[in-house]
């Protein structure tokens, strides 16, 4: 059975392998062992804390095939996007320039570096092995985290967001970087995303433009990709959009990937989540797919099952019941996929 569970120390080697595979697109999963170890340790610590309100916690989840122990994907959540240091983004502001006398009325767009989103909870580090890209398991990683955040609201802010990768080709050329960031840094896109994943943010404050950048002055090739999501992240984008995440006026500073934002209460998961009791299926009626989240104390795991929801009971197969191996202290929540 494939499950989503918190990362532990024995996962570090697998994570290193995944980090290499995922490349610069997942900048928050850098292929550097010491960093990954650090991330796992921080996650373990975060799960263990009794949390009243979102702070410095960062939770890292692993997608695992329990039969083989193979690690197939990752997903993380930062309690606050900018807890230890500011979370920078570009905000696309519209300034109205108008002259009544000349009958000119223009809407001028300008990108301003800001850290408005520092207090949002942030979904990040999404990755799944290519073989599973077309399955339901990406949904397990993403919605599983949302379920976790809904069940433990005190650990998170009221506003959530996800930064999605922007347009870049296979060689790692990102048009927005080429025509904007490169002017300030002079280095390749791959390199800056690596720095972004491994260094603290001071370099951003030092190197990125202080003044708003007029969009009209940005090369057309870069303008065209602003706010567009990378093909390989379209799936993530759709999942989040279906839940109720929306693009606002914020984009990622290096590749201008879209930043999707949502109010916790407005999300589908919030409306549809149900606390249930797991029982055996009586007869093979029409089955639907459910994502179930199992919480105990400060721990959480999630998986997908076929079942039938009736009242407060979710009817699933004998095999699933055995695989899940529920204990009496564990609470079960589910949402329909």
């Amino acid at each position: 059975m494939i499950i989503l569970r918190p990362a532990n120390l024995s996962d570090v080697s697998s994570l290193e392998r995944l980090a290499h595979e995922s490349g610069p697109m997942v900048s928050s999963l850098p292929a550097k062992r010491s960093h990954l170890l650090n991330k796992v340790e921080r996650s373990i610590y975060s799960f263990e804390q009794e949390v009243d309100s979102a702070g410095e916690e960062a939770y890292l989840f692993i997608l695992e095939e329990t039969l083989t122990g193979q690690v197939l994907g990752t997903g993380a959540v930062n309690a606050l996007a900018g807890n230890q240091e500011p979370f920078y983004s570009f905000r696309n502001d519209i300034k109205i320039h108008s002259s009544r006398e000349l009958n000119v009325h223009s809407r001028i767009h300008a990108l301003t570096i800001n850290h408005d989103l520092s207090d949002h909870s942030q979904l990040c580090s999404f990755y799944i092995v290519p073989a599973l890209a077309d399955s339901l398991y990406p949904a397990l990683i993403t919605l599983g985290r949302l379920l976790f955040m809904t069940i433990f609201p005190m650990r998170f802010a009221n506003e959530w967001m996800a930064v999605l990768p922007g347009i870049a080709d296979k060689q790692g050329r990102a048009p927005f970087w080429e025509h904007v960031g490169r002017k300030f840094f002079g280095i390749d896109y791959n390199k800056v995303e690596y720095y972004n994943g491994t260094l603290n943010n001071t370099f951003i404050a030092e190197m990125m433009p202080y003044h708003p950048l007029y969009v009209a002055l940005i090369n057309e090739e870069a303008q065209a990709v602003m706010g567009l999501v990378h093909k390989e992240a379209e799936l993530q984008c759709n999942l989040l959009s279906e839940q109720g995440f929306e693009p606002d006026k914020y984009v990622e500073i290096f590749d201008s990937g879209p930043i999707l934002i949502a109010q916790r209460n407005a999300l589908s998961v919030n409306q549809n989540i149900k606390k249930v009791e797991l029982t055996l299926i009586i007869n093979t009626t029409i089955l639907r797919t459910y994502l179930i989240g199992i919480a105990e104390g400060n721990s959480f795991k999630a998986c997908l099952v076929q079942g039938l929801l009736e009242g407060g009971k979710l009817h699933i197969s004998q095999q699933n019941i055995e695989q899940i191996n529920l204990s009496s202290e564990q609470k079960v929540y589910c949402i329909k996929l």
């Binding site: 300034k95 320039h97 108008s98 002259s99 006398e101 000349l102 000119v104 223009s106 001028i108 300008a110 002017k183 300030f184 840094f185 002079g186 280095i187 720095y195 260094l199 001071t202 370099f203 030092e206 190197m207 990125m208 433009p209 202080y210 003044h211 708003p212 950048l213 007029y214 009209a216 002055l217 940005i218």
Partner: protein, 344 residues
């Protein structure tokens, strides 16, 4: 003989003719009878002591004494930007550096500024093409400096001169195409015209208020920043030889450079000397080519010549004295026309 005199009311017609010949980028002589007449009145008010500081200015005509035709014009504004704000772009440097990443970059940026508010300004310089020879350009341009030297207290501590920027035969400015076009919907020619007739408030309303990096402009635009139109190169050379410098400010439409100086540092202001008129029957020639001006505020005259001088006198012909509107015993202000000349 060519001589300089103050503009007169009846000169409006010939000024209008000259205005049609100047083409795009010559902002301060708009092709409008109303504006030219208003300008002349303002000059006359200034001379008469009736104009407030914010409106004071002078306009001089270059006259061919043989035909009495006005063939050139040059002007001074006393204190710019006191009514309508005076805008230009300041060319600044922004350094972005990260020791951690071992990266260091210098980036040029432009920001909208009103830094020259209150400065005096040399402006409205135009010479009919048929007369662009000999020393006519020098006389037209530098006689203003002699006037300033004679009446220093009427002018500001700092003085500027905007030089026309690069535009092609069709009146297109690469800087405008790269920047201005995005913030305005009209052509460079129109922006220029609107500025010339004083409708400059639109600049504040529509221009980019934030500094922007020069790297985001087209290469053609970047190249012309602080560069002058080919036809303006002679004028730039003249003013630079007189002590004016580009100090990092350019025009907001065509990025032509602004030359500037402390008024007291201008060569003519520093080096001009006084002599007493001595009219002689025959022409007495001296060693230096001189710019010569009278000390009359309301009837300022200037010529170029090589009269003999000694420690106290300057020996003029009657024709020269007439052109200068002086008689024996009057004071004249002199300075070598060129800075390369030896001291008097």
């Amino acid at each position: 003989m060519m001589f300089i005199r103050p503009i007169q009311r009846q000169d409006w017609q010939v000024l209008l003719e000259l205005a049609t010949k100047t083409g795009t980028g010559f902002t301060s002589l708009p092709n409008s009878e109303k504006h030219i007449k208003e300008r002349i009145e303002r000059m006359l008010d200034t001379s008469a002591g009736k104009a407030p500081l914010s409106e004071q200015g002078y306009l001089f005509a270059l006259v061919d004494s043989e035909t009495q035709a006005v063939v050139g014009v040059s002007g001074i504004e006393v204190s710019i930007g006191l009514n309508d704000p005076w805008y230009d772009f300041h060319v600044g440097t922004q350094v972005h550096a990260s020791k951690q990443l071992d990266i260091y970059r210098q980036m040029k940026k432009l920001s909208l500024s009103n830094d020259h508010t209150g400065n005096s300004e040399l402006c409205t310089l135009f010479l009919d093409a048929d007369y662009r020879m000999g020393k006519n350009g020098q006389l037209l341009s530098k006689s203003r400096l002699l006037f300033i030297a004679a009446f220093k207290e009427k002018f500001s501590e700092r003085i500027i001169a905007e030089m026309r920027g690069v535009s092609d035969e069709n009146g297109n400015s690469p800087f405008w195409e790269s920047l201005g076009r995005h913030f305005f919907t009209f052509d460079f020619e129109r922006a220029d015209y609107l500025t010339g007739i004083g409708k400059k408030s639109f600049i504040a309303e529509l221009m980019p208020k934030h500094a922007f990096y020069v790297d985001f402009l087209s290469e053609a635009a970047q190249e012309v920043i602080a560069d002058v139109h080919p036809s303006t190169r002679p004028a730039r050379k003249i003013l630079e030889s007189e002590g004016m410098r580009y100090e990092g400010y350019v025009d907001i439409f065509d990025a032509g450079p602004t030359l500037e100086a402390y008024t007291q540092d201008l060569r003519v202001v520093k080096k001009s000397q006084l002599r007493q008129v001595n009219i002689s029957e025959s022409e007495l020639l001296g060693d230096h080519l001189l710019l010569i001006g009278n000390e009359k505020y309301q009837d300022f005259r200037a010529i170029i010549g090589t009269p003999m001088i000694d420690d106290t006198m300057i020996y003029l012909t009657q024709a020269q004295a007439d052109a200068l509107s002086v008689i024996n015993g009057d004071q004249l202000r002199i300075v070598p026309l060129f800075e390369k000349e030896h001291a008097l």
